[in-house]
């Protein structure tokens, strides 16, 4: 079981590191800046996909 846990943690690591880099690294001043529309569209996409995964899990695993 410990091996599985560590494997899951390792499998998660790239996503975690990628998120941290995206979330906490300052953008270089010369990087292209996202527009309002792009940022708002990214938010709606993140919201929709995130909720969809919750609903899929809850539907597949109803309360016992």
């Amino acid at each position: 079981m410990n091996q599985n846990l560590i494997n899951v943690a390792i499998a998660q690591a790239p996503a975690v590191i990628g998120f941290l880099k995206e979330a906490f690294l300052e953008a270089h001043p010369t990087d292209p800046q996202p527009t309002d529309e792009e940022v708002i569209a990214a938010y709606h996409s993140a919201f929709a996909s995130s909720i969809a995964k919750d609903e899929a899990y809850l539907a597949a695993h109803p309360e016992a």
Binding site: F24, L25, Q33, V39, F47, K53
Partner: protein, 207 residues
């Protein structure tokens, strides 16, 4: 390195601490609070590794020679996997040492600024939820379905709170996280702790 994991987690923590202090000395933008959170995260990961490598004296006393031999046989694959962890941990530390709480691009309107921040919060919540689901999908499950449902329900309500309240969600989402931690069974709590700490860091630090 493997024997170091087993014998000297405190020493490794001290080395990591010194590394972060060095990074701060060279100008890495890490506050005292952020350093504390990074150290807590590292300590939790080291604790997880250490627990996978050791057996309590009481358990050993109750083992028959056969179960002891079986335990030694199953320990080897775990040790092999643990060999990969220094690289993962180092990458986490490097990513953590880059904590600078980047602010939203300055060209954004107020509405887009809120969307930018809230996207980060949702993706941070996704990390905890995705780990719980992946752990629940293992055979045998590492985290029970009942606990995973609690994590998913917390995630769903938090994302909806973020969507409904714009920029005023932080206190409610952090309080919900504290409530979730209290509801997780003691035997499963250590498995989720590193991700809970990481999520708290994210929710606390994003501007």
């Amino acid at each position: 390195v493997n024997s170091l994991w087993k014998a000297e987690p405190t020493m490794i923590l001290a080395v990591v601490s010194a590394g972060i202090a060095l990074a701060i000395g060279f100008g890495a933008p890490i506050t005292t609070q952020q350093m504390g959170l990074i150290m807590a995260f590292v300590a939790a990961v080291l604790g997880l590794i250490n627990r996978s490598q050791v057996t309590s004296a009481a358990t050993l006393q109750n083992m028959t020679p056969k179960t002891l031999a079986d335990a030694q046989d199953t320990a080897q694959p775990v040790k092999d996997v643990v060999k990969k962890l220094p690289a993962v941990l180092l990458a986490c530390i490097l990513a953590g040492s880059a904590f600078g709480c980047a602010s939203a691009p300055p060209n954004l309107s107020p509405a887009a600024h809120v969307a930018f921040v809230n996207t980060r919060a949702i993706k941070g919540l996704d990390i905890l939820r995705d780990f719980a689901i992946d752990a629940n999908n293992q055979q045998p499950p590492i985290i029970s379905t009942a606990t995973t449902r609690k994590v998913v329900l917390y995630h769903e309500s938090s994302v909806k709170i973020i969507d409904a309240s714009g920029s005023g969600w932080r206190a409610a989402v952090l309080t919900g996280l504290d409530e979730l931690v209290k509801e997780i069974p003691a035997n499963e709590s250590p498995k989720l702790t590193p991700y809970v700490i990481l999520l708290k860091t994210i929710l606390t630090e994003i501007p």
